[in-house]
């Protein structure tokens, strides 16, 4: 290649990159919507506010829009992504730090198109890819609910993202690749409850945001990978499709009880980020929660446990021989509550092998439950387990996890447990 030729190529490349950038900027440009005076809360229809309250619970909005110790909907919860931390925004009707100046049109644009009132593109950590399917009536109700909350003057911490992701026009490129909303038409062959459950689950409740795997740019994988298990807040959200590792069938009735109480007597207690989800579902409209249960039981209708519920493994003697240290630690730290015959088990709490974590293909949830324990997700008297993060070392927790998997677990063997405990500990800090 001659020098002139190389130069020409270089210039062409630079021109192409610049042109692409200009196209992106033009495409990314969205005009601001003029701010309005905060609407008078008394002007909203009480019926719409009540419907919005139910929808906000179904959508679990408060999980990301409330910081630990903060006010509801005032934002500040850190959402950790592989690209850095994004903080939930203040969606109370405060005029300057919240959405008090947002018209209904601006609110709808944020929800369904992922564009803020000022015209800036929103990070898809805010799941507008799901909310795109929310109906006009439900947008109205949510708007009425949020605009009638107490206004909280609070600015969430700034996002901490790796460069150049702070440059929001890039999100227009992400949307071009991954944001293709399609209307959810009714499926006539399915019941009204199934269709309602699908609408709630695929839009506001955004269940697949945690329960589906994500690609390199954090886009949700769809198609055959839908609901194939994903990651959320340092926890593993197991598959809830035909590959569900549960050893007991998730029938609509069992799912409903789990959603409403945070506990399934045929499985286990809701743990990690699922705790707040059940807290909110316990307070949502029963018919809607039943619809969700109908829809997700349908997703798991061909899972192994739906066909036949296997006997629960208890290879105690073998596990004790293979994991002597783990068995000893378990006897001192866990058996008081978890051994068959322990008061908790006699009182009707599920035994360890009924829980799904020991049957998952990775040990993360088992490790997190030991590290962080369980707080009652729904009522103060609900399932509780003390945290062991300060009591046991990584090696000791790894020993217990190895013992439990050998004694009660099914599915692929777990390896490098001590490293995995250290990693889980680091990620939950």
């Amino acid at each position: 290649m001659t020098k002139a030729c190389a130069l020409k190529l270089f210039v062409t490349m630079v021109a192409l990159v610049l042109a692409a950038l200009v196209v992106l900027l033009v495409m990314a440009h969205r005009p601001a919507i003029a701010p309005i005076a905060r609407p008078d809360p008394r002007g909203f229809d009480p019926g719409a506010i009540a419907r919005g309250a139910n929808l906000a619970r179904l959508g679990n909005c408060v999980s990301c829009h409330q910081a630990a110790g903060g006010r509801p909907y005032a934002g500040g919860y850190p959402v950790k992504t592989p690209f850095g931390t994004i903080h939930g925004s203040n969606i109370t009707p405060d005029a300057t730090t919240g959405i008090g100046g947002w018209s209904r049109t601006a609110f709808a644009q944020a929800m369904r198109e992922g564009v803020g009132r000022d015209g800036s593109h929103l990070y898809p950590a805010f799941p507008y890819t799901h909310y795109a399917g929310v109906t006009d009536g439900d947008i109205d109700a949510l708007y009425a609910f949020l605009m009638t909350r107490p206004a909280v003057h609070a600015t969430p911490p700034a996002n901490d993202l790796i460069p150049p992701l702070g440059f929001r026009p890039l999100l227009a490129g992400w949307k071009l690749l991954f944001f293709h909303p399609r209307p959810l038409g009714a499926v006539r062959s399915q019941s009204a409850a199934w269709n309602r459950g699908r609408y709630i689950g695929e839009t506001l409740a955004h269940c697949s945001a945690c329960h589906s795997p994500r690609g390199l740019l954090q886009q949700e994988k769809r198609g055959d990978a839908a609901y194939d298990g994903g990651w959320s807040g340092g926890w593993y959200a197991p598959p809830i499709n035909p590959r569900s590792p549960a050893v007991r069938a998730w029938t609509p009735e069992r799912l409903y009880a789990y959603f409403r109480t945070g506990l399934s007597r045929h499985h286990a207690a809701a743990a990690g980020p699922m705790g707040p989800v059940t807290y909110n579902l316990a307070r949502a409209a029963p018919a809607d929660v039943h619809a969700l249960a109908t829809y997700y039981a349908w997703w798991m209708r061909d899972a192994p446990a739906a066909r036949a519920e296997p006997p629960l493994p208890d290879r105690r003697a073998l596990a004790e021989r293979q994991h002597r240290d783990g068995a000893r630690l378990y006897a001192g730290a866990c058996a008081t509550c978890h051994e068959p015959g322990a008061p908790m088990v006699v009182a009707g709490r599920p035994v360890l092998p009924l829980g799904t974590p020991l049957h998952e293909d990775n040990p993360r949830d088992t490790i997190q439950i030991i590290l962080q324990g369980l707080r009652p997700p729904v009522e103060a008297s609900g399932p509780y387990m003390p945290a062991y993060a300060d009591a046991l070392t990584d090696r000791q927790i790894a020993d217990i996890v190895g013992y439990l998997k050998a004694r009660h677990g099914t599915g692929p063997a777990w390896t490098d447990l001590e490293d995995k405990v250290a990693k889980a500990r680091k990620e939950s800090r």
Partner: protein, 163 residues
């Protein structure tokens, strides 16, 4: 024979390594401050410090402690010369029946070893795992604030800068 580092001294006990630390403290070593309440890690009356972190001694197998240092309330002072947290609990008369108090003191000590300038929220979440059935919570909280001040710190407002 299990060797333990307790309150700055070395103690030995001839016990099964799965035995909960609480039983070894009370039955073998004569350290009766930590109490048996529920035995399930739910009430906090057995709380002791292991490497300065509060843990439920009823659920910690003694064999799991290894070289980590155990601190019980006996290690914080004596009736004649109480430690700062003990002194503060006395001054505020924070004990009613007293059963939860050794766990409460251990928990407060753990917090103040981490920071002498906690926020009110940090104080409350640090103390929350210990239950008191007499209802002296407000006095217990005052005692923790007093102890923080006695150590040269104090409870701070998170919105205010700390000098």
């Amino acid at each position: 024979m299990i060797k333990l580092k307790i309150n700055g001294a070395v103690a030995r006990a001839d016990v099964d390594p799965a035995t909960p630390l609480l039983y070894v403290l009370r039955d073998d070593l004569g350290l009766h401050a930590a109490k048996f309440g529920c035995g399930l890690g739910q009430c906090g009356s057995c709380t002791v410090l292991v490497d300065d972190r509060p843990v439920f001694a009823c659920l910690l197998p003694v064999g799991a402690i290894g070289t980590r240092a155990v601190t019980t309330v006996e290690g914080l002072g004596t009736a004649e010369a109480p430690g700062t947290v003990q002194r503060a609990f006395l001054d505020e008369q924070a004990g009613q029946c007293g059963y939860c108090i050794p766990g409460m003191i251990a928990r407060a000590e753990g917090l103040l070893r981490r920071t002498t300038t906690p926020t009110e929220e940090e104080v409350r979440s640090a103390m929350a795992p210990s239950l008191c059935r007499c209802g002296t919570h407000m006095r217990i909280l005052r005692a923790v604030r007093r102890a923080a001040a006695a150590r040269g710190g104090g409870v701070v407002d998170p919105a205010e800068p700390v000098a």
